[in-house]
């Protein structure tokens, strides 16, 4: 099977859906001529024109609000938010309007909008361009949150998001855009709320999202050399969350580490660990462990920045500690 980059997979998903449905438009800063700073959308304006690939002024609340209105009145907009950190600018448009319109209108209105944005540190972008804020969005009822961890997932989840009749926020890891993976040429979708078991094992369950999936897989490989069999689960969407796959795995292994690049405090790791404690408590043989971004603003200093994000080595060490009964 051919291999393409994460960025190309996103581009392909959007182009395919735009060809299928002319209500699909994309708007945001530098999406047309520039094709975004990460060059993910290059070529779209040439094919679909400036009517459907719209460069907006630098006003996130403005263009997100326009998209919410356009979605309510019949279009299927994709909003491109250049950095996840800018979510703070569009909280009202996203959380008060997009998330609640279907509910507040008694089901008469829908907001079929996709917000594609990014997350992830270690790109030396400093504290205001390096955050992973997906937990913030997943907290709001009415918003779906997808977190692709490969080119394959990026394409399948994007296509499902565009066809969804409700608002979906997709977080892409900005360090992953050039990573290649096998992506079929024929069309496919990835259902929301279906986790993938990337690596099956019996001793410990590693639940990892987005950027942390690769780290968890590396850890599973190094653990295998120590005769520890780790199961790696990628939830793919954190809202809805495939609780069943996670709980069943933990019931089997009795040990779990949850890994996510958002801050550890009040984050995704806490949520998943809590659900495991609620639903698999009597199967646990050690406390559920969490690895998240350090609870500090992401430092600009490369040496310091690298310390704030969980690594495969940390996952490995933590797993060994659990299984050697040091936790």
């Amino acid at each position: 099977m051919r291999e393409i980059t994460f960025g190309a997979a996103v581009n392909e998903a959007i182009a395919e859906e735009m060809r299928l449905d002319d209500r699909v438009i994309i708007l945001g800063e530098d999406v047309a001529e520039a094709g975004t700073p990460f060059k993910v959308l290059s070529g779209l304006v040439e094919e679909f024109g400036t009517q459907r690939v719209v460069d907006t002024p630098i006003s996130e609340p403005g263009f997100t609000g326009i998209a919410v209105g356009a979605a309510m009145t019949g279009l299927r907009p994709i909003v491109d938010l250049m950095f996840g950190d800018f979510l703070f600018l569009i909280m009202d448009q996203l959380c008060n309007q997009a998330a609640k319109t279907h509910y507040m209108s008694g089901g008469k209105l829908n907001v079929p909008m996709v917000l594609r944005t990014n997350m992830g540190a270690t790109r030396r972008s400093a504290a205001q361009h390096s955050q992973s804020l997906h937990a913030l969005v997943a907290h709001i009822p009415g918003l779906k949150v997808a977190m692709p961890s490969s080119a394959y997932e990026a394409k399948g989840l994007m296509k499902t998001a565009i066809r969804d009749n409700n608002p979906v926020v997709i977080f892409e890891d900005k360090l992953m855009y050039n990573d290649k993976a096998k992506v079929p040429e024929e069309e496919y979708l990835i259902n929301f709320g279906e986790a993938e078991v990337l690596h099956s094992g019996k001793d410990i369950t590693l639940i990892a999202t987005s950027s942390m999936v690769q780290q968890a897989e590396l850890a599973a490989k190094s653990l295998a050399e120590k005769n520890i069999s780790a199961e790696v689960i990628d939830p793919r969407t954190i809202s809805p969350l495939d609780e069943t796959t996670i709980i069943n795995s933990v019931k089997k292994t009795s040990h779990a580490i949850v890994i996510d690049e958002g801050h550890k405090n009040f984050g995704i790791t806490a949520e998943i660990a809590a659900r495991i404690s609620e639903k698999a408590f009597y199967y646990l043989d050690a406390p559920v462990q969490r690895l998240g971004a350090m609870d500090v603003p992401v430092p600009f200093s490369p040496a310091l920045e690298d310390l704030t994000v969980p690594t495969a080595q940390q996952i490995h060490n933590r797993a060994v500690m659990i299984l050697e009964r040091k936790i």
Binding site: F281, Y282, D285, A286
Partner: protein
Amino acid sequence: MAYEIIMPALGMAQETGRLVAWLKNEGDAVSKGDPLMEVETDKSTMEVEAPKDGFLVNITALANTDIPVGEVVAHIVDNLDDIPTKVMKKADLASEKTVIESDETQKQATNKGNTDNKVRLPRTVKYPNSIITGEKILASPKLRSLAAAENLDLKNLRNAGYTEPFKAADIAILKQLSVRENISLRRNATSLLDKTSFDMFLTEINSASQNLISASVVFASFISASLRITMNEVDIGINYKSGNELQSVIYNNPDKQQLGDVSPTDLEMPVLAEVNDLTFTDFIQLSGDTNSNIIFTISNFTDQLMITLDWDPNSLNQADALKLLLDVGKRIKSPLKQLL
């Protein structure tokens, strides 16, 4: 039924409301919708209406005072006999909870003429000493569920000196410890019997019978009869082991058959007791390797038989065990009586 009248919240961030005046007096009959009291917040004044028909009682808040939102200021009752005995301020509720409960239980007990044995006692929240002193055993939830399913006590792990927290892998050790504990808990008693009568009896019945009747069959039959009396069981299966290799056969109700007809059964059946017959071996004592609740060991001396009964006190009390052993002994000492 008493209905509570509370200080309402009239604003979003309001913590107290000022009770300006009562518009009804204690004991007044009120109809649903009647204004009961006038309440003032920093923004407005309003009247609080009666939510139902009845009588206004238990007015506990004074006019011209600030009352916390949510606090009960009076009750409405259906008739004047129903006045609640005690009205608590919200802040006092937590500390006085036990008082309320015991009042209620007393009332319940009185209503039921004190026939209810399950009177709830006042609840005083007190942590067990173990939590305070760190005596609580640290064990993973998984091990706890495994141990609970097999009725094993985690204390055995601690007493044996293993490091906490205990994990699922410790279940194997815990099982071993518990088996050991069970065995040490077993009891035994031994009696020494003159065997002259028994040997004569065996010679005599064998001269009269066409089949050879072995001592084993007689022992099994006597033990079965004694078990029937002591244990009150209908079906008695005996796992009978004899010879130097302790070959095992099962007898089913041997006391119910003619001695000449008793033979081992091939049927699967529950075994009530186990007999180690050492009379034709070089051993005189043997500790069991099974968990049978009742184990007899019979061994041979020159003129005597030694019979040891080993039992699990959970399934047989000492009085019954001794009765059982004496009964078997009586039969062996006077075997002829058994035929009468």
